[in-house]
Each structure stands twice: as structure tokens, then as C-alpha cells.
Amino acid sequence: MKQISKGDRKLALTNIVVAYLAFLIGTFCGLLQVFIRNDALTLPPWLDYYQILTAHGVLLALIFTTYFIFAFLISGMSYSLGTLGPKVRLFSWIGFFVTTVGTLLAVIEIVGGRASVLYTFYAPLQASGWYYVGLAIFVVGTWIYSFALISHYIKWKKLHPKQLSPLLAFMTIATLILWITACLGVVTTVLFQFIPWAFGWTETINVELSRSLFWYFGHPLVYFWLLPAYMAWYVVVPKIIGGKVFSDSLARLSFVLFILFSIPVGFHHQLTEPGISSFWKFLQTVLTFMVIIPSLMTAFSMFGTFERAGRQKGATGLFGWFFKLPWKDIRFTSIFIAMFFFIPGGAGGIINASFQLNEVVHNTLWVVGHFHITVGTPVAMTFMGLTFWLIPYLTGRKLTKSIQKLAFIQVITWSIGMLLMSTSQHILGLLGAPRRTAYSGYMDDPTALEWFNGILSNHVTMAIGGTILFLSAMILIYIVFHTLFFSPKAITDRERVEFPMAESDLSQTPKYLENWWIWIGIALALILIAYTIPLSQMIHHSPPGSSGFKTW
């Protein structure tokens, strides 16, 4: 059985450990939030709801995801292209340390109450300058990581001229290109707007410009979470169910389309705000909808793979293949449930981005429900499904029967908890309950009090869901801890856990799909078309800037 080198395993495991530390604290913050919102818990005076909310967002959406993603990408690159060279590994470690220094700095500022600006850090709320410095260092760290992995890929390409790279490596590079391009927006606003302003070198900030630059980054960020999950769906799942990649070229094409259409779309987060003309809002709405195409391709490929594998195992009839799927294999079932959650998740996303329709849901709890059934389940549960085998694979330990059972309990409780919590959040949002708020009855306003009456549309249902989710999270932490340190060592090949990577037939794949400069060029052209005019308008016709406020 193919192993990856010890040095690479150590690197990946270190990232996983940091990811789950963030997961532990982040989910605990989430637990506190659902209780505060239904008035069952009052925080001590030295702790503020919005501080916890900021921590929850930063730790789970940014820290947990990023570290886990790099752990997965490092393992995948080492497995598919061979051991990382000494330089690549050194730079990956430097990337890890820089990212971690940035993380710690940002977390210290949040805990100290100097940065309760939420992770979307809306100016002119002004956090301590060190918070922004921390985030900038974090991004630079991920860039060092990214370029280390890209250089590993370039080296492979030089050794294998005119060959297409393995699918997993191709997808890794696509994800990293997306990440680097997306970060340009947040780096620009943090370096040139927030840091000079927060340290007092400039008096004021151009608020609308900072918001637009943030959302230039904020939306592709969600695709940075999603693409590694898609990698697992395309490459890992077919192997687990005993099949092959449905179509290598379509898998690559869908990743290319994500590079093109996930960035010039940030205005769909700003549809209800002034300062951007309707024309540009609409243009970016159209571009936003383009990502539906690769998503439909992915859905087709998944079900195509399922059906083919099922029929090979002798399934008959229209839906017979469904019962041939390996439901008892937690590595599969977890990811299948994750995919299933993405159906309503994606549909909700279409609603949110639909121009005028956004007014119905913008900044309501609906949106919170939405991202808990996109990043919070399809992405997070895919990561859980990967964790179950990735940690034992890296530690060389067994994935015991009892841990597998526990993993089932964990995945099922997460699903139930999320179903309860996100359903009530969606309904409450439609009724007008706002997001990002501590408990409030709005001075016993009758409309607001109704939000506590429904069976599903109730803040209590939300809290029950949140509690189940937290229990599930703790089971996961136990599984992680156990497979890291206590599971018995695998000795024979049969006991060893494999890295499931499906075969992908390259014979039909056109070479131009791997000509990155074409795709980077088109992506940049689309970004320039979508952003040049509205951004220059914001700069040239800007109102006097805003001074900083600390309203917490």
C-alpha cells in the first residue's frame, strides 16, 4: 500500500491538529450563541455576544477550513505527485508558522475585546491595527504554502513534459490559483486602507471601496472552502464505492469554470446598498449565476458515478444502484449526506443572489441558515468524512470498528442538529428576524415576539439544534484525538487505512485544460470587466471618508 513520506505526514498532521483546536473553540462559541439568542443565557459583563460571534466566524470559517484544506492538499499532492522536496517542505513549514503567527495575533485581539468587528470587519468600525496585521500575516502565510505546493507541481511538470497532471494535483492547483487571486482584494483593502487608518497614519477610510474590496474576496472565499470538498467528491468518493472518475475532462472543466466565475461576483453581497449602480449589480448577478453550470456538472458526475458503480455490482432497474452503494462505509455515507445538504444549500444560494429577491432575505437569519447548509454541512461534513480516514492514514493507526460506529453517530447527530437549526433559521429569516444580533425582543414588539412562537420558527428549536451540533462536535473531537494518539497501530497491509484515490481516464482529456495562463487570463479579464468602472467610480466620486468608531 502506498505511503507518503514521514516528513509530509508530520506536516499534514500538524495542520489537522490546529484545525481541530479551532473547531473545538469555534463550536463552543456557537453553542453559547444559540443560548444567548433565546434568552436562556446571559454572559458575564466582561464577555460580549459580538466578541463570541466574531470568534465563531473567524475560528470556523477561516481557521478550521484553511488548516484542514492545507492538510488535505499537502497529503494529496504528496500522494499523487510524490514526496515534497526539501525546499517545498521547508517553505510549507514557513507558511504554516507565518499563518499561525497571524492567527494567534488576530485571536489575541478578538479575545482582548479589541476587534469585535466580525470577520467581515465592516469599516468604519475600527478594530485595533494589530487585528488587521494578524489577518494580513495569515493571508501571506497561506500564500507561502500555496506557492510551495505550486512549485512542487511545476517540478513534476518539468519531469513529465507534455503529460497531464493527475486529477487531484490539477484540482489542487486550480484551488490555489483561485485562493491567490481572491486574496488580492482583501490584501489591498487591509494594507492600503485598514492598517494605515487603524494606526492613525490616515484620518479617514473610503467605506464603500473597502466593502467592495472585501466582497471581491468574500465570495470566492466560499469557493476556496467548497473546491477541496469537490475534490473529495470527484476523486475520493468514486474509489470508495468501487468506481472510476466519471469523466476526467468534465471534472477539470468544472474546476476551470470555478476559477472564471467565482471572483467577479462580489456585488451580490452588496445588492441592497448604495454606491454601486444597478447595472453593475445586475452584471455581477449574471456572472454569479454562471457557477451554477459547474455545479450542475458536478451533480451529474456524482450520480453518474453512483449509478455506474451500482450497475457494475449487479444493480438492475432505474434506482437499483442506490441500494448497492456502500452505506455501511462511513467514509461514503458522511460525504453522501454532505452532498445531499448541498441541494437545498445551492438552491438557497440562487435565491440570495437573485437581485431584487435579495431584499427579502438580506441580513436576516435566512442567510445564517443558508451558510450552515453550505459551508457548515456540505463542506464541513465532507472534511469530517475525510478526517475519518486521513488521520489514521497519516498516523499509521487502525480505523477501529468502534471508532467507525462512533463516526456514524457523529455524522447522524450533526445532520439532525443542522436540520433543526438551519430550518428554523431559514423560517425565522423569512419572518424578518435579523442575523448578527444578540437576544432582543425589540422592547416586546409583537412582531418580534412571534419569532418565539412557532414550532420550527422558534429560537428554542434553533438552540436545540445547536446543542445537538455541539455534542456531535465533541464526539468528533474525541474521534480525532483517539485516531491521533490511541488507536492501535496498523501492522499488516489489511489493517492499514488507504488513501482512496480513484482512477481517472486521461485519454479523452484535451491538453488546453491544463494551460493555466489561458484561464488566468480570462479570469483577470472578467474581473477587470466587472470591477474596473464601478471601483474607479467609488474612488473618483467618493464622499469624504469616515473616521473610525469603536461602538462595542
Binding site: 467605506v207 441592497t272 454606491g275 451529474f300 437581485f355 435579523p434 437576544y439 425589540y442 422592547m443 464622499p543
Partner: protein
């Protein structure tokens, strides 16, 4: 590149629905003037309360069927404190902020406006039913964010 026949049908169906969706949105937006709130007017965020019309927030009748409501949002409340408007009339809301980003969102309506400092947000709305409407800030603005509210009374 080989594409399976069923996948062609599936993608064709998807792309046609997409074009249809976008056409509906585009036509309602640009032919029937149904846009989300917005506007390109700017204002000095430090001088909102000295700049007309925000120096005198309140409800103004423009003509027989049109009213204008001028609102100043600030941490953590709205000016004017009381808003009374008749039902069935076109109401133009204009909102600006004196400090951080807020929102002016009327629950159970499609009025959901971001109030970004330096910008004036505008939205037209016609209330068809009388009663009390809860208005709240749904954009995080500080410790008092969840107390930031007002009500609109729609009268006959």
C-alpha cells in the same frame, strides 16, 4: 472532449432555465423598474445633520400621492423617532448614517436598506395595509445593535 448524451440534455436544461431566470430578473429590473434599494448620491458622513434634507428628518408630502421620509440612522437609533404614513401612497425612503454602517429594514416588507456612511440609500415602497411595522437594524453596528429599532405607523 467527450460529453455523455444525458449530460448534454441535463446541462442544456440547466442553461435554458438559467437564461430564463436571468431574463425574468432583468426584465422586471430594467423594464418595470424593480431594483433593490440603492442610489449614487453621496454625503459628508461628518456633516449629515447639517446637510439638507437630513438636517430635518421627518415625513414630507411631495404631491397628492407621494411622500418622502428622511431618516438619519445612528448608533443605536433612528431620527425621527415617530413615523406616520398613510397607506396606499408612494413613499420614498431616504436614509443616511452619521457614524457606522447600519440598516433600515422594515419587517414584513421588501424594504431592506443598507445604510453605508457617506452614501444616501433610496427606496420606494407603498404600504397596502395599516398597522404598526417594526423597523430594525440588521447590520451589526456595535453593543447596542440589537436594541436599534423604531416603528412605522401606517394609517388610513
Amino acid at each position: 472532449m467527450h460529453i455523455h448524451k444525458f449530460e448534454k440534455i441535463w446541462l442544456g436544461f440547466g442553461i435554458i432555465s438559467l437564461v430564463l431566470f436571468l431574463s425574468i430578473i432583468g426584465v422586471t429590473a430594467f423594464a418595470f423598474n424593480h431594483h433593490p434599494s440603492g442610489g449614487m448620491e453621496t454625503i459628508d458622513p461628518d456633516k449629515v445633520e447639517q446637510t439638507a434634507p437630513f438636517d430635518n428628518p421627518g415625513v414630507y408630502q411631495i404631491d397628492e400621492d407621494t411622500y418622502e421620509v428622511i431618516i438619519v440612522a445612528k448608533a443605536f437609533g433612528y431620527d425621527p423617532p415617530e413615523i406616520k404614513i398613510p397607506k396606499g401612497k408612494k413613499v420614498i425612503f431616504k436614509v443616511a448614517s452619521t457614524d457606522v454602517t447600519h440598516s433600515f429594514s422594515i419587517v414584513n416588507t421588501n424594504v431592506n436598506m443598507m445604510v453605508v456612511p457617506g452614501q444616501i440609500n433610496t427606496k420606494e415602497y407603498t404600504f397596502e395595509k395599516t398597522g404598526q411595522y417594526l423597523v430594525l437594524c440588521n447590520e451589526y453596528c456595535g453593543t447596542g445593535h440589537h436594541f436599534m429599532k423604531t416603528t412605522i405607523e401606517v394609517i388610513d
